[in-house]
């Protein structure tokens, strides 16, 4: 056994440093587990579908591929964000975090900073590649923005649900987002509360800022609500 080298000055880590450290840990853990590769397989579904259509010269309705991507919105954020936050709390590894001089909101932010870009990359990447294979051209910018915004919003929903019911964070998030898909398909105004419906509306609009503002704001409100629930809940959580 050796002696420690010098007294370490006690400082409370900054929020930025905490978020950065936690994002790094989350990414390292993700890349060393199986979840990233399983999610990658799911994200390849639009590509597989488009390849099948292309090879058999079938011309399905253009919406089919986007519907697969919307389904992924219900799955991937739950797999990554919901599971990551839920397991942290349920497995009690959170005790290491809560006993440190860090803000609990920063813990949530760190995880989201690491996982949301992956969710966006997988969902938008799958959509982009699928359309490219199917039509030979890139998809519209608004459809990519719609899926990216939907990914952020559903990730915040997953974070909120996982802080409330950590044990079943992933399953309940999938359940909630499947209900969201169902509500989005309803022919009356309740569908405005659906993230997937707003993403669908946004994808079919033109690119003028005025047009796309309404669905983006709707998604931001729903996501903000769940984000606030998540932060509020995590600040009160005991280990």
């Amino acid at each position: 056994m050796t002696e420690p080298s010098g007294k370490i000055e006690h400082v409370v880590p900054s929020t930025r440093s905490t978020v950065w450290t936690l994002a790094g840990i989350t990414l390292t853990r993700l890349t060393r587990g199986k979840a990233l590769w399983i999610g990658g397989l799911f994200a390849a579904l639009p590509v597989i579908y488009a390849t099948g259509v292309h090879s058999r010269r079938i011309a399905p309705a253009p919406d089919d591929l986007f519907k697969i991507s919307l389904l992924l919105l219900a799955l991937l954020p739950a797999m990554y964000v919901g599971a990551s936050i839920g397991e942290e709390i349920e497995d009690r590894t959170s005790t290491y975090l809560w006993s440190r001089p860090i803000s609990r909101g920063a813990v949530l932010a760190g995880k989201l900073c690491a996982l949301v870009p992956i969710v966006i990359a997988l969902i938008v990447g799958g959509w982009f590649a699928g359309i490219l294979i199917w039509t030979g051209a890139a998809p519209s910018a608004t459809s990519c923005v719609a899926l990216a915004a939907g990914s952020i919003a559903t990730s915040l929903v997953a974070a909120g649900i996982a802080t409330i019911v950590p044990k079943h964070g992933m399953a309940l998030t999938i359940g909630y987002l499947l209900v969201d898909l169902f509500i989005g398909a309803l022919p009356f105004s309740l569908s405005a509360l659906s993230i997937t419906n707003q993403a669908n509306v946004l994808a079919n609009l033109g690119s003028s800022p005025r047009e796309i503002a309404t669905p983006l704001i709707a998604m931001a409100v729903i996501a903000g609500l769940w984000g606030a629930i998540g932060v509020g809940r995590i600040r009160r959580l005991e280990a």
Binding site: M1, T2, E3, P4, S5, K7, I8, E9, H10, V11, V12, P13, S17, T18, T21, L22, G24, I25, T28, R29, R32, G33, D91, R92, T93, T95, Y96, L97, W98, S99, R100, P101, I102, S103, E238, A239
Partner: protein, 309 residues
């Protein structure tokens, strides 16, 4: 100045009582928190480390509420009882990350983590992933996460559980060194001899309450005032009982299947007489044990309720 002040502090988990109306002050040094499983040791430690809030009363560390004040938590090093860690990381990555989250600057975190792991005898394994570690190696890694940021106050929840004898000696020695260096350390255990190896200052906690506080030898004296049980498992329990029945130190004799349980006020004399009786009557003994080594039995004596409360 007291480092920890608990004032009528209680904690419930729904209907389950964790800690009940504890009023206690911690001055410094190494203090052993002794109690059987479920006594409330971990609850008290979690409240001191800022993981739990009291349901009633208050608990402060360095004059602040550790649940709400990050400034206090930066001075605390906590090693939890459970084994769960981020298994995908190597020991060095884990301890470095924990040091950074405890406020060690990025440029010094790696060095601090290596030092902490070296102190715990983990240098050779520091690049291996935690997933493949034995229980003892996990304990050492957990302790390294607790000390890497050089805290003033260490909370170690059952740090010797599952550790092999050699590692136990190393860890005990290291904890003593930290205490000698001026750190305040609270170590919990349900094993009296583990605590005795670390410190003579103990707090006995049982059923959520602080039962006794002071020098471990005073607690031992208190324990020794009460009858001590000796269980002799043999082929002729009645013959052993007959040989001892008339002795003045024997408070009670009872029989279990294939065994006699002797309650005595003089254990040393009793052991000698049991040996004599066994030899005289040619009794075959299959086991000789003292149920009082079980800490719960000792605490039942101390509370005087025989565990019926």
């Amino acid at each position: 100045m007291s480092i920890v002040v608990a004032d009528h502090c209680s904690k419930w988990y729904g209907h389950v009582l964790g800690v009940s109306d504890v009023s206690w002050k911690l001055g410094g040094g190494i203090v052993g928190l002794l109690g059987p499983n479920g006594a409330g040791k971990s609850t008290l430690i979690k409240m001191m480390s800022g993981l739990l809030q009291p349901s009633r009363g208050s608990l402060t560390v360095y004059g602040q509420n550790p649940f709400h004040d990050p400034g206090v938590r930066r001075r605390i090093g906590y090693a939890p009882e459970h084994e769960a860690t981020w298994d995908e990381l190597s020991a060095l990555e884990l301890v470095t990350a924990m040091a950074r989250l405890a406020g060690v600057p990025a440029g010094r975190a790696d060095r601090a983590a290596k030092d902490a792991l070296a102190q715990m005898g983990m240098t050779d394994a520091m690049h291996r992933r935690v997933r493949g570690f034995s229980k003892g190696m996990r304990q050492r890694t957990k302790l390294a996460t607790a000390i890497a940021h050089d805290p003033d106050f260490l909370l170690l929840d059952e740090p010797l559980t599952g550790v092999d004898p050699r590692a136990r000696v190393d860890i005990v020695e290291r904890i003593k060194q930290l205490g000698a260096a001026g750190k305040t350390i609270v170590v919990s255990s349900h094993v009296l001899y583990e605590i005795e190896a670390l410190t003579s200052d103990i707090v006995v906690i049982y059923r959520g309450q602080v039962l006794a506080e002071g020098n471990v030898y005073e607690i031992r004296t208190l324990i020794d005032r009460h009858p001590h049980r000796i269980r002799v498992e043999c082929d002729q329990p009645h013959a052993v009982a007959a040989a001892l029945a008339a002795e003045d130190h024997v408070a009670r004799l009872s029989f279990e299947r294939g065994a006699v349980v002797i309650e005595t006020r003089d254990p040393d004399r009793c052991y000698d007489q049991v040996a004599g009786a066994v030899l005289a009557a040619n009794v075959t003994v299959s086991a000789l044990s003292s149920p009082d080594n079980n800490l719960s039995a000792v605490f039942e004596y101390l509370t005087g309720d025989g565990g019926r409360r």
